[in-house]
């Protein structure tokens, strides 16, 4: 009888910072079609949850795909315990629509958490189109700072926004951005792209709104299937229901009109604590 289940071997597993890891997985079918800004869904074992991660790199020739993840709960802790040579039960992708890439001019990228690595393919593609890129890297402290070199390599300028011991997390990237906005339009910003916690993406979108600078965000509501079948990931964009897994995950931050609901839905299973780096509940409008 044919073996129905096929496994996905881990080819590399790297520790980047406390609770932050990069995993490389052999999945030629996924690597073949991967584009910047798309994501995969991983299932660790046959009893596992379907968990989405943004693709942070791929190698079509080697047939590998990588993503950076933060240990926040059951599945990510399980992942952290795996070694190169171990296998994942399932690996589906590339899901979602690729990031829109074009010539915009001067692009400001705001990255925190896994977004630091997951933005790299998008910024590289922007760069190839001739854009100039200023990146703002947000981290809670020096110890948890990672991915600086990679981000630097795809940016014309890198600004570090390192918060003091995790205080004021959601706001530390806003300071350098405010400065840049102060010089706009003398030194114009043509586009802002943010990947990080939903709070951060919301705050940045509100900052740029008065300046009417197109701001794209990469939204991460809860997902189940990731193919448009369950509606768990639905959100409201300009009054219309959209599914983040098939219509996104990239959206215009100024068109998101249900941030509060989005955040509440995102926290369904968080109960009282959300441990994700860059996703601190302190001062969150939700709670």
């Amino acid at each position: 009888m044919k073996e129905v289940v096929r496994m996905f071997p881990i080819t590399a597993h790297e520790h980047l910072a406390p609770k932050v890891h990069r995993m490389t997985v052999k999945a030629p079918v996924v690597a073949e079609k991967a584009r910047p800004g798309q994501f995969v869904i991983v299932i660790v074992d046959e009893k596992g949850e379907r968990v989405p991660f943004t693709i942070s790199g791929w190698d079509t020739a080697a047939g590998t795909v990588e993503f950076v993840y933060i240990e926040v709960g059951k599945t990510t802790r399980q992942l952290a315990a795996l070694k190169a040579g171990d296998e994942l039960a399932h690996f589906v992708g590339p899901l979602g629509i690729a990031a829109q890439v074009d010539y915009f001019g001067h692009v400001v990228a705001v990255a925190s958490g896994y977004g630091i690595s997951a933005l790299v393919p998008i910024l590289r593609a922007y760069r190839e189109m001739g854009n100039s890129i200023t990146s703002i890297l947000q981290a809670p402290d020096r110890e948890r700072l990672f991915g600086r070199e990679e981000l630097e390599a795809v940016s014309d300028r890198l600004i570090l926004a390192v918060g003091e011991r995790g205080e004021e997390m959601a706001t530390s990237a806003t300071r350098p951005l405010r400065k840049l906005l102060g010089n706009h339009p003398r030194e114009p910003l043509h586009r802002v792209v943010v990947m990080g916690s939903i709070c951060l993406m919301r705050v940045i979108s509100e900052l740029t709104r008065p300046h009417a600078i197109k701001t794209v965000v990469h939204l991460t509501p809860l997902m189940v299937d990731g193919t448009g079948m369950c509606g768990a990931c639905r959100l409201s964009i300009k009054g219309a229901n959209r599914f983040a897994c098939v219509h996104g995950p990239e959206f215009d931050g100024h068109e998101v009109d249900g941030w509060d609901v989005l955040m509440a839905r995102r926290c369904t299973y968080a109960d009282t604590s959300v441990h994700q780096q860059g996703f601190q509940c302190r001062g969150c409008s939700q709670w």
Partner: protein, 482 residues
């Protein structure tokens, strides 16, 4: 047994005294409502051999074979019942399997009351033969005996076929074509094969082990099943056609959930039935934390809709521990599309039915969780296109129902993913794929069937369409000029 002996087999010699027909069917044992409310095990536990024989003996073997005509896949019902009457379950099984490869599934979930059993001659006078229960019995018997018969497979034709989607329609085409010697590869977006049979219909109506058995059976015919592969993403339809596949069958179902489009519908704790059922059944949230996927649910659950999907959602909610479960339906009991048997089961399990009302909005608890829903009462007006009387709102009749969880079950439509990446595939306004005779689509070498064509029907119709398409595809593949 003795009672049925007296009832006669209907095979008595002419000249004998006309046998008295037993008008009452043998009841199938069920878990009591009090018990089953607390578990996900199968509600109906199936006939014993004795019960099956007794029920089979009620069949008068009439000449008309109305039951067979009532069956969408034309199963030789009188013949397998006759074998049962003779105590030959094995040949009954062979007869059954010559027309359906999924008897264990059909026996459980087909709406027999509208098909074969409806057509049964006894139906005019009393209870029709319990054909579904007998079908289930035969399939379970074969499974228990472990003597699964595999048909003979024709020599390889060298032709390759891709089947997209592993629901009942895809499985039917795959097995039909594999038996005829074609190389079949199935593609499935999810991590498990079986379609709605796995992610939608709950364990207590259709044990997943039975579905996986049938999937294994199809795989044992030499069919290659590729999970975690989304057509339209990993391969486009054209890529399939331009590489090794001579023909493609699309059976991707109707998986896109519909919403009400009323204010507050995105509040937290409002689920689509697809999400609620997928978490519960496919991901086995009822076994959380052994299985990693949770499903969060409160105590007062409203399920909106009146179909099988709504009944399944409500009955899952009961089993997951809800205190009050309401079915909210805008017409009356008579118009409910759910199977009568399932409505009855739901009632026995303590589910409250609210007829003639429709939600107009959802109210937040102040933290964006649903706390209540606003409803408006309806009355039935003129019949609509479906022939059912159209519900019309009664102005000023709004009222509020406190709920902390809502499951929206308003039906589904085909997922646009495949059609949107295949511009030359003709679809209707509702997103269903348009087909001609034998399931041929507007695109050369592409066939389609099941819910992607009907927009949502039944397991057996999905299989029936698959069967017709498989014949048409086989004729095409066998044409030597190709």
């Amino acid at each position: 047994m003795s009672a049925s002996d007296k009832a006669g087999t209907g095979l008595d010699e002419p000249g004998d005294k006309k046998p008295k027909i037993n008008l009452n069917r043998v009841e199938m044992p069920k878990q009591s409502p009090g018990e089953r409310k607390h578990n996900f095990e199968e509600v109906a536990t199936g006939y014993t051999v004795e019960m099956a024989m007794e029920e089979a003996r009620r069949c008068i073997q009439c000449k008309k074979r109305n039951c067979q005509q009532g069956c969408p896949v034309n199963i030789d019902i009188p013949d397998f019942i006759r074998s049962l009457q003779q105590g030959d379950v094995e040949s009954a099984s062979r007869i059954l399997k010559s027309k359906t490869s999924l008897p264990g599934i059909c026996g459980r979930v087909c709406p027999q009351e509208l098909q074969c059993e409806h057509a049964c001659s006894l139906n005019k006078k009393g209870a029709p033969i319990a054909i579904g229960r007998l079908e289930r019995f035969i399939a379970d018997w074969e499974r228990m005996e472990g003597a699964v018969s595999t048909p003979e497979i024709a020599p390889s034709t060298g032709k390759c076929v891709a089947v997209v989607g592993t629901g009942p329609s895809g499985l039917t085409v795959a097995s039909d074509l594999a038996i005829r010697g074609h190389r079949v590869t199935m593609f499935e977006a999810l991590h498990v094969a079986g379609g709605v049979l796995m992610y939608g219909i709950p364990e207590f109506r259709l044990p997943k082990e039975i579905v996986q058995r049938e999937v294994q059976y199809v795989a044992s015919l030499g069919v290659d099943i590729r999970l975690d592969t989304v057509i339209g993403i990993n391969y486009s339809l054209d890529e399939l056609l331009n590489t090794k596949y001579h023909a493609v069958y699309l059976a991707t179902g109707a998986g896109l959930p519909q919403f009400l489009r009323v204010p507050g519908e995105n509040l937290n704790m409002i689920y689509s039935a697809n999400e609620f059922l997928t978490r519960t059944n496919l991901m086995k949230a009822y076994l959380y934390p052994e299985y990693a996927t949770p499903v969060k649910m409160g105590k007062r659950v409203a399920v909106i809709g009146g179909g099988n999907v709504a009944m399944d959602s409500a009955r899952c909610a009961v089993r997951l521990g809800a205190r009050d479960v309401y079915i909210i339906y805008r017409r009356t009991r008579q118009e409910m599309p759910a199977r009568f048997e399932e409505v009855e089961n739901a009632e026995e399990e303590g589910i409250h039915f609210h007829f003639l009302c429709s939600p107009t909005g959802f109210i937040s608890d102040g933290r964006n969780n649903v706390a209540a829903m606003e409803l408006i009462r309806m009355q039935l007006g003129e019949p609509d296109a479906s022939g059912r009387r159209r519900p019309v709102p009664i102005p000023g009749s709004e009222y509020v129902l406190d709920v902390d969880t809502v499951v929206v079950s308003l039906g589904t439509s085909p997922n646009p993913l495949l059609a949107s990446t295949t511009p030359d595939l003709e679809t209707s306004r509702r997103g269903t794929v348009i087909v001609g005779e034998g399931g041929r689509t507007s695109k050369a070498r592409v066939w389609a069937g099941g819910d992607i064509v009907s927009g949502g029907a039944t397991v057996i119709s999905a299989m029936g369409e698959g069967r017709l398409a498989a014949s048409s595809m086989h004729a095409f593949l066998s044409d030597s000029k190709r």
